[in-house]
């Protein structure tokens, strides 16, 4: 039963993808509607099977070394000599949590999307991509080896590319899709090298072998009764880092390489530029892929491989610092953006920064917990933003909407719940998970902890800035001019003449479930997540000294953070409900800072100058030197010129004069005869 359930979880979205692709290819608008039912049904069924896995998990968990997951073999994939990478699944607490997030949130968003995408010509195509995404994401979180993880990793990257560029007639969407793909290549390059490094050091890439082996290296003596293959991996790695031996540079660089992949996928600081642009895709995609699931793959990967990261203190510190700085950086940018989806996008980057801070200080429980709650409230925020956008015919500019509370009351209060969770209002889900990370950070590196609290204050402010601006104040709005990402066709467009309105009840239902998760996910999930992470390879034993610092921080950090958050919500209320002129005056006073933040710290421009332009210049030089000179002129042109040269020499002989030919023929014969005569004489 357990094995069947695990196989079904992955197989169902795959089948759904195939069927939806056929529907999409058939181009019959009537059957396209089926695609939504099939996709939502398949992901929903996968969710049910995930629940079955979760239920059976504790029984299969208590075996083997420490906390090792159960391996479910699906089919042989690659078996070459000692190298094994099968299509099989590694199921432990961490996998179970990720499965709940991916299939649970996926189902809700698929249902919402069936309303949101209604009337789109690419309806079937959209759900094909969604199924592809879910399939790849499930391979990513369930794979029992790094190669299957990598396959899923690239699969979700491809799905993300396809969905960002879903409105392929829009140049900005195509550019954003390419940007996402190319920036991710930088990270994936590192990840692939890290994967190969793991193989070289441990002699294998299966979690069951490498994770206990790495644990045994990190904590000698703590881990006993290694199985035969695990001991072999341990012995292989000992060559690189054994007692009395110098630590190999390769082993130390592995976490840094893997980290690069995580930073690319999860949009951390040097590689964060693609995520805000990725908002060009349809809003359900922003919610599912670029907020709730795919972008958390980096956090999942580091949590999964935490024993390998533990081998290198510097790597963990780097993860924590980059995470913390990204959180602050993106939080600052979110303050001054006017595009609703971009505010949430920067907020996502910022929250992912928190998760990296969490794993960096070895607080994997907090990080995964935040991943879990963030999936709910950020999906909720994106979907409600999508509803607003849909109601206003594609309008996303905060300056052009106000007081929508009266027009769309349900959406208003749904988004409010999401905002509370994101702001870390006490007892909402965000409060529990964010404070778990902040406490861990404060106990390990107080500076990072304080920066985290500062970011939490910013978060509360920008969240409620948006909410107050959109839903409060005088009712005033300006319609956008597009529908479903296409320029509106004014002949048969009925959306323009409508008042903004809430979506139908059945489409709002998924949002209500997400609201439940956003509000109550914290205290319902707290014990559950802790228990499941404790039963997974991501569990990190806490040493007593750290426990004392942790408890000390726990006594005050949550209250300071939430008091600050409430104060910031109040400030946002003053600025954006009570006296909007005050906010404008404030922005005028700090004009320079606002401009820098509005332009996102000029990171895109910086990349343009230091990467794009030199590359372009180099390409230009290569084009001149190799393409034009070497290939066009010398090779192609030269070969073409050679016969011409020959002809130029032979041309005078063909002068068109008949007698000339006769004469030369006669002279030729005479010459031959003469030679013959001379020779035979």
């Amino acid at each position: 039963m357990f094995e069947t359930a695990a196989k079904a979880v992955v197989t169902l979205p795959f089948l759904s993808m195939v069927i939806c692709a056929m529907l999409a290819f058939s181009k019959i608008q009537k059957t396209q509607r089926l695609a939504a039912f099939i996709t939502a049904g398949a992901i929903g069924a996968a969710f049910v099977f995930s629940c079955l896995l979760l239920k059976d998990l504790p029984q299969v968990e208590k075996n083997g070394v420490g906390a090792v997951g159960t391996v479910v073999h699906y089919f042989d994939w690659i078996n070459i000599g000692d190298f094994t990478a099968n299509f099989s699944f590694y199921i432990d607490g961490l996998t179970a949590i990720m499965l709940m997030v991916v299939t649970g949130v996926g189902t809700l968003i698929a249902v919402y999307a069936s309303w949101y995408m209604d009337g789109d010509v690419g309806y079937g195509r959209f759900f094909t991509y969604i199924s592809l995404f879910i399939f790849a994401m499930l391979c990513l979180v369930m794979g029992d080896n790094l190669l299957l993880l990598f396959l899923g990793w690239e699969g979700v990257g491809a799905a993300s590319y396809l969905l960002i560029g879903f409105y392929y007639r829009k140049p900005s969407a195509v550019a954003a899709a390419k940007k996402a793909f190319i920036v991710n290549r930088v990270g994936d390059f590192g990840f692939a090298l890290g994967l190969m490094g793991v193989f070289v050091v441990f002699g294998g890439i299966q979690y069951v072998d490498i994770l206990p082996a790495a644990k045994a290296l990190a904590e000698p003596g703590m881990v006993t009764n290694l199985s035969e293959t695990q001991a072999a991996a341990h012995a292989a790695a000992t060559d690189y880092w054994g007692e009395g031996k110098t630590v190999s540079l390769l082993l130390l660089s592995i976490p840094f390489l893997l980290m690069l992949g995580a930073f690319g996928k999860s949009a951390q600081l040097p590689l964060h530029v693609w995520l805000p642009d990725a908002m060009e895709g349809p809003t359900p995609v922003s919610a599912l892929i670029h907020a709730a699931t795919m972008v958390t793959a980096g956090v999942y990967m580091i949590s999964r491989l935490i024993p390998i990261f533990q081998l290198n203190e510097a790597a963990l510190l780097t993860v924590a610092v980059i995470g913390c700085v990204t959180a602050l950086f993106a939080g600052l940018i979110a303050l001054c953006q006017y595009d609703i989806k971009r505010v949430w996008a920067y907020s996502t980057v910022s929250q992912l920064g928190y998760m990296f801070l969490g794993v960096g200080v070895l607080g994997t429980t907090g990080a995964v917990f935040h991943l879990f709650t963030h999936a709910f409230f950020k999906a909720l925020l994106f979907l409600t933003a999508g509803t607003v956008m849909h109601a206003l015919a594609g309008q996303l500019d905060l300056r052009k909407m106000s007081g929508l509370r009266t027009k769309m009351p349900i959406t208003c209060w749904l988004m409010f719940a999401g905002c509370l969770a994101l702001a870390g209002f006490p007892f909402t889900s965000g409060w529990y998970s964010k404070d778990m990370i902040l406490v861990d950070a404060m106990a390990t590196y107080p500076l990072l902890g304080w920066l985290g609290i500062l970011t939490a204050l910013l978060t509360a402010f920008y969240t409620f800035r948006l909410w107050f601006k959109v839903f409060w104040g005088p009712t005033d709005y300006e319609m956008g001019n597009e529908h479903h990402g296409y320029e509106a066709d004014h002949h048969d467009e009925d959306h323009h003449h409508h008042e903004p309105h809430d979506p139908p009840m059945w489409a709002n239902l998924p949002l209500m479930v997400l609201t439940l998760g956003a509000v109550a996910g914290g205290f319902l999930g707290y014990g559950f997540i802790k228990n499941f992470i404790g039963m997974s390879s991501a569990a990190v034993p806490i040493d007593p000294a750290h426990k004392v610092a942790h408890d000390a921080a726990h006594a005050w950090v949550p209250w300071v953070a939430s008091a600050g958050a409430i104060a910031m919500i109040g400030l946002a209320w003053v600025f954006y409900v009570r006296n909007r002129a005050l906010a404008e005056n404030c922005a005028k006073t700090f004009k320079g800072a606002v401009r820098v933040l509005y332009n996102k710290f000029y990171v895109d421009e910086l990349y343009d100058v230091i990467i794009r332009r030199p590359l372009r210049g180099m390409g230009h030089i290569c084009h001149l030197l190799f393409d034009q000179m070497l290939i066009d002129t010398v090779l192609v042109g030269g070969i073409a010129k050679f016969p011409r040269l020959l002809a130029w020499g032979a041309r005078p002989f063909q002068n068109g004069a008949l007698q000339g030919y006769g004469l030369s023929m006669g002279a030729g014969v005479a010459m031959v005869l003469f030679v013959l005569y001379m020779v035979t004489k």
Binding site: A647, A650, R651, P652, F653, Q654, N655, G656, A657, L658, Q659, G662, L663, G666
Partner: protein, 106 residues
């Protein structure tokens, strides 16, 4: 087959053949009129034919004469076709001058 010709007689025949051939050659190169040029080539044929017959007689071997019959036959067929061509060419340009057909040059 009686009466073998001797070396001196053979030389006379060969001289006649060579003369015919050379005259034909000169005529072909020197004259512009297509029909005259054609007749000159016929003359070159006859020069060769005389040589063949002479050698055939000298060696008492009939192969040469058989070959001559062939040459005459083919020359007749060729003359019919070549004259036809010349007429066609004449119709195109209303002149028999070979210079008129020197457009085909490199």
């Amino acid at each position: 087959m009686d009466g073998i010709i001797n070396q001196a007689v053979l030389n006379h025949y060969l001289f006649t053949g060579a003369l015919l051939f050379a005259l034909g050659m000169i005529g072909f190169v020197a004259r512009r009129n297509l029909i005259v040029m054609f007749l000159c080539t016929e003359m070159m044929f006859q020069g060769v034919v005389v040589t063949l017959v002479a050698f055939s007689r000298y060696h008492l071997n009939l192969d040469g004469q058989v070959f001559v019959i062939f040459v005459l036959t083919i020359a007749a067929a060729e003359a019919a076709m070549a004259l036809g061509l010349v007429v066609l060419l004449f119709r195109r340009k209303r002149t028999l001058d070979a210079e008129a057909w020197s457009a085909m040059k490199g």
